[in-house]
Symmetry: C2
Subunit: 427 residues, 2 copies
């Protein structure tokens, strides 16, 4: 019937009103709101299925791009990999040595789910020294990757049928993991021609009665945007006013070239910080991260670690202690990333058919194909097939079909060659 009279199949306004109505009915009848939301959630999902509305689609993620590229690589194709968000730096030597030494000292056993006390204590000292943040050990948790920290945060803070605010473009995993835990992502888009600035009213208007969290991450993956700490405070204020927990993914904070906001500086009434050893110390393949939150949320997140994976490998935890002391390496990595931003900025600026903002930090550019005629997906596909260069299509990060992400996790000469090939294809 909707189709016959040209009504859109999905009406987000109706969905939001239903949420309000169900929560009111729950309050009136003395039923737990969570039960109402859970039932509504099941019925809305079924309604969509029956009407043929696709569920949140599987977008092309950086990881699926890796698989495609590895296949081509196997077939003998020489590739310039500017897709995956992985620094090419080496992990600090002290980390490798501590990890190996722990291995040969038979640190090969189960540990406490929250991490070995020595690492928890080292994270506490690191946060004190680098962020002037005083954490109790009960407020810290070691996780098997920053990604897992995000998953555990979402699963601990949010319940099925609730919703969370995400500012887009952003890391695809936020939306994917929210969908996985049956929480509705509500996206607040930002635009290149507004310098990726966040409109505070857009954020306020996006909040529904069942919204319980706001996900923030600066420097932004993929735009490199870093909002001012004062504006960040305003965002936290909106979260506080609406009883939202701020989940701040601070994985790129060491790669920021203007003052980087952090919830650890205060201002959020309820928060979880997720972070990782992956970017700062180039330890992606170690799968280790951490979370900072209230003792109560950390305890809930610890139960999830315990339930799903028991703990992080013991000898890796010993290695991670040394990373937290490797300031020289993290500073060098940060400096190199800054140089790459400058370099790629110079190279990209000569390509007329691309628009972009110069990143404030992070390790990515997110240019747009000017005129928005060519779709980035098709462009990326031709770039791979004709020039052997991999980038990630903008659709992975939100509704950005004409943008693509360039990752700076490659040596300068590779980046220059890659960007020049982008220019060649566009010419």
């Amino acid at each position: 019937m909707k189709e016959a009279i040209s009504l859109p199949l999905e009406d987000k306004g109706v969905e939001a009103r239903l949420v309000d109505q169900v929560m009111k009915e729950c309050d009136r009848a003395g039923v737990d709101r969570g039960v109402g939301l859970k039932v509504l959630n099941a019925l809305v999902a079924e309604g969509k299925r029956v009407q043929g509305i696709p569920l949140e689609q599987d977008t092309e993620t950086p990881i699926s791009m890796i698989e495609k590229a590895m296949k081509l690589h196997k077939e003998g194709k020489k590739l310039i990999r500017m897709d995956v968000g992985e620094p090419d730096f080496r992990p600090p030597g002290a980390v490798l040595e501590a990890c190996s030494e722990a291995l040969f000292s038979f640190k090969t056993h189960y540990t406490l789910p929250k991490g070995i006390p020595e690492l928890v204590s080292a994270i506490r000292n690191y946060l004190q020294r680098k962020r002037s943040f005083e954490a109790k050990e009960s407020e810290l948790l070691v996780t098997p990757s920053g990604r897992f920290a995000v998953y555990a945060a979402f699963a601990s803070v949010l319940r099925e049928g609730e919703s969370a605010i995400i500012i887009e473009p952003n890391w695809p995993a936020y939306k994917q993991i929210l969908n996985y835990v049956s929480v509705k992502p509500i996206t607040v888009p930002t635009k290149l021609d507004e310098s990726w600035d966040v409109n505070l009213d857009d954020v306020k208007n996006a909040i529904r009665s069942n919204t319980k969290a706001m996900v923030l991450s600066y420097p932004c993956n993929p735009t490199g945007k870093v909002v001012d700490p004062s504006f960040f405070r305003e965002l936290l204020g909106v979260a506080n006013d609406n009883g939202l927990t701020v989940i701040s993914d601070e994985i790129y904070n060491e790669y920021s070239y203007k003052p980087c906001p952090t919830v650890l500086a205060g201002g959020a009434e309820s928060f979880v910080v997720t972070s990782s050893f992956s970017k700062t110390w180039a330890m992606t393949g170690f799968r280790i991260g951490y979370a900072v939150s209230s003792a109560e949320l950390v305890s809930r997140m610890t139960k999830i670690v315990s339930l799903v994976v028991t703990c992080v490998p013991e000898f890796i935890q010993y290695g991670a202690i040394k990373a937290l002391e490797s300031d020289r390496e993290s500073e060098e990595n940060s400096k190199t990333m800054k140089e790459r931003i400058e370099l790629v900025d110079r190279e990209l600026s000569s390509i007329d058919s691309l628009s972009y903002t110069k990143p404030d930090g992070g390790m990515y550019f997110f240019p747009e194909l000017t005129g928005r005629v060519l779709e980035a997906k098709e462009f990326g596909s031709r770039l791979l097939n004709e020039k052997g260069v991999t980038v990630t299509s903008g659709t992975a990060f939100g509704d950005y079909p004409h943008n693509f992400r360039i990752s700076l996790g490659q040596p300068q000469e590779v980046l220059v060659e890659g960007v020049r090939k982008i220019g060649e294809l566009l010419d």
Copy 2:
């Protein structure tokens, strides 16, 4: 009202009838059964909450016991640890070397979520060589622990509101993870005085219209029971007849001292095998395991790995390849475990106030306090406080308040001392 007229608060028969009714109504109305079960599940849970029926309780698990013991250890108390299911053996030297070598060769990057091709291929060869099972690579998945393989299997095979059969006593994680993914565990109890035999009619009668999986694990943790392969086939037949997927946790298969059943020998129409490097090669602290299933289920499980943790640490995967070639070590470990079973059997047999069956395999004894006067929880607590010996209370493994689990993950002299102290306290 129920209380006033002495009716039990919970009536499992009513719950089972409701499930049938809802599924029938769904079929009649052309609504997806999953939606009906999801809604029923939310309402039943709320009904229980309102009536004050506790949700599946947090039982004392081996891990929570570790925390208690570590605290006492920190306070300087000398302990005999017979609680945690962790072999005291050392990982094979070749594993340590390969892992360390991979680390220093910078195998420190993201890998494919399903595992590095070299390890997947090594698992395929291992299954061919040791289990005469021919797997395609698409049917294999590397997981960050056997526990994670179980979690991914449950989350892939079962949907919210469905149910799964578990034979008890068994590893507490099965029930805990099922509860976590909102699936109802239906337990089929076995008894010491029936030699922990499984009654096939009990299994058949436990199956409801929403039951979708049967969880099996032999040798059994905690009883050490290994059922005959012919009886195992009968269990698989029941699963097939009812359209259940068999989830067979084969983590202890190398510690079996009579022919050990495996679904890899055939007989199950739909199955997932979960396994791990933890017990066979004493690699608990490496957090690595694997799963074998249909390509379709492996693909669903791979998505969960990718979503929650990306992949297993790369250099650990290189170490694991060497484990699969370490037959000498796994045979030695298996032989030592057999000797410990004989030894502890001799020691325990002289304690009058304990009844038990001698394990067919695995690494545990599960004795019962004869007469069932003393609760194992109280006994375990006194054993820890008065004798410095840790065991795990039977309530962790099901409704076994008078049993406790002794783990054999300690050298012979420690086991002898521990069991003698148990005898002393009982005297």
